[in-house]
Symmetry: C2
Subunit: 341 residues, 2 copies
DNA sequence: AACAGAAATGCAATCGATTGCATTGATTAA
DNA sequence: TTAATCAATGCAATCGATTGCATTTCTGTT
């Protein structure tokens, strides 16, 4: 069976004995076209199974009505929440969303950025990968004035709107909470410091400790990529240090989980012997035993905000006078891994 | 600062005093162009910061080198594994991947399908939503001979390649395993029967029961959308039935989780009083207490296979003579929720 | 030196929708 | 009745890359 032929505005025009321009205008509800012809044209379009060729329109208008999104991993609750927030706003405003994951690899992030650029997305929302320390692939966008919005893992130096959570405050609260539970020796499993979020979390942690007049044991502050395996290595290494800590603040829930599992295996009680707080409120954190105290980030709202700012910027011809950095509040969720019994 | 101007092949041509066609051919390594000019052109292209306008090329060639993917939810381990598999194959072959989620809503699924169609994706890979029972939005693609590959939640009636897991076999093994543990009264929390996967899981369950010469209590077979809440309602309703079951086979891990949590709250022991097996091997299933026995599906491999079949089909002008249905093997993972102590 | 044949390059139409600038036709005012 | 005005429609160029066909430039042969 032969495929249905593509119907163009010219086909509609020919059938109705009018010009293609009129058809084009009518379909876009241009008020120049009379009510009568517009209805006639729309009817014919539906009957003939017309579907606009988006590429042709994009070529002419130099807009794609598409937003590119790059995240490290779509399979992380936080990131997929953000994506849902972006989609929520974008779809309502007639934008399509193209989602890609960098897998935290600079090379893939760069490939994707180039591809999105060549595909002429109208704007880009992204959270950089753990490896990303050079930004040539992002210059592409700024050079051509293509709006860019960062969220969560931002690049301080690049002028663009930024949506972050209060990592410092969240970490401060988390650590403070451990101290309030009577802990005196709080260790920290942190992420790579080239990512601002992890630097800020560490800073919040340090501030809370020093505000409480406690000491930091620098051997008990570790940095890694925060995977399950990294978390395991980290907790092992912490347990080997001289003065075993009585609490750990982990920069994400994954390492908190590793720690808890390993401690259970070693017969060390959580939270009695070592209390633990994570970060991000991954869905599993309330399911494991003990459930993990953590910091909740408003992912969906961040996505909405990012999309709003981006679309606003896409709409205006001029560069924004100033770039905003919007900081969203976090919330400490106290569960069993940290609570004094 | 003014944005960098767009560089086109015409700009390169002008600069080198040659024609745009030669530039176009050289950049695509067309053997008609001599080695010397090709090098010259490529050098100039890089220097000038040329980036091809994909839309223009697409318009002319009627190909986008883009694959559309629609899944119910990207935030499900199984689906994001499939997506990773698709990306793995697609990127290597020079295809971009556009990912969208239907949120299990027919309306959104339809909107997305239309949008992908209008954007002229070269092919579509999808897993239909729970609500989807009409397929007009998919006819678009078959009418225009745009290749389509289903995975997991397939539509039997539509001619297309299909990648499925052995739901029947998996469910059979799961149920059989419960019976092997000495269980005699196995209930079932199932999904909507319009989705083949759930129909097959139920069928596998029924077959295992009858093969073992046991009885099915039809009151203890429930159907719902398999959310946390649905699972809670289901377990409550099962507990109200006359003869309380001693095992439950759940069509996904989410409802298995709901059941376990509710049973714990009620002081009913898992697996001693009621043993439970889920389906899909969600990451949380090994983390909760008791850990959930489940059926593992090879998501990544399914994605790879789907992308391979799709791309093969995109490459060939003719329709495939026959459509394949590829069934991938599942694996029973026995954990604590079902194991006789 | 002349020419066939091959190799390299150029010309111009094309993909389908959009849009600035006419042009047509109808309506109104004088 | 005629000029002026406005509403509705059409013309044709344009976006940038591709490609069938024509043309030019080489190469080798006699």
């Amino acid at each position: 069976m032969a495929p249905k032929p593509e119907i163009t505005i010219h086909d509609i025009a020919k059938k109705l004995n009018i010009s293609a321009s009129t058809v084009s205008r009518a379909l876009k509800d241009n008020p120049l076209i009379s009510e009568a012809t517009r209805k006639k044209i729309k009817k014919a379009a539906i009957e003939m199974g017309y579907r606009p060729n988006v590429m042709a329109a994009n070529l002419r208008t130099r807009r794609t009505n598409t937003i590119g999104v790059i995240v490290p991993l779509i399979n992380r609750h936080f990131f997929s929440s953000v994506i849902s927030g972006i989609e929520d706003v974008a779809y309502k405003q007639g934008f399509a969303v193209t989602i890609s994951q960098s897998n935290d690899k600079l090379e893939k992030e760069s490939t994707i950025a180039h591809s999105l650029f060549s595909n002429r997305v109208d704007g880009l929302i992204l959270s950089i990968g753990m490896e990303t320390q050079s930004y040539d692939h992002l210059k592409l966008f700024s050079e051509r004035n293509i709006p860019l919005v960062f969220f969560d893992r931002i690049v301080e130096e690049i002028p663009a709107h930024k949506i972050v959570v209060d990592d410092f405050g969240g970490a401060y609260r988390a650590t403070q909470h451990l101290i309030e539970q009577g802990r005196k020796k709080v260790a920290h499993i942190g992420g790579p410091l080239n990512l601002q979020i992890y630097a800020k979390r560490e800073a919040g942690y340090r501030k809370a400790i020093s505000d409480a007049g406690l000491q930091i044991n620098e051997n008990q502050i570790l940095h890694n990529s925060l995977t399950r395996q990294d978390g395991l290595n980290a907790i092992k290494s912490i347990l080997k240090t001289k003065e075993r800590p009585d609490a750990i603040f982990c920069a994400n829930d994954t390492t908190a989980l590793s720690a808890i599992i390993h401690l259970k295996e070693r017969g060390i009680k959580v939270p009695e012997d070592i209390a633990i707080v994570g970060f991000s409120n991954e869905p599993f954190s309330e399911l494991v035993t003990p459930s993990i105290s953590t910091i909740k980030q408003p992912g969906f709202e961040m996505g909405q905000k990012a999309a709003e700012l981006l679309i606003k910027q896409i709409g205006s011809k001029t560069k924004p006078k100033a770039y905003e950095t919007i900081m969203m509040e976090t919330e400490l969720i106290v569960r069993n891994s940290s609570q004094r019994k």
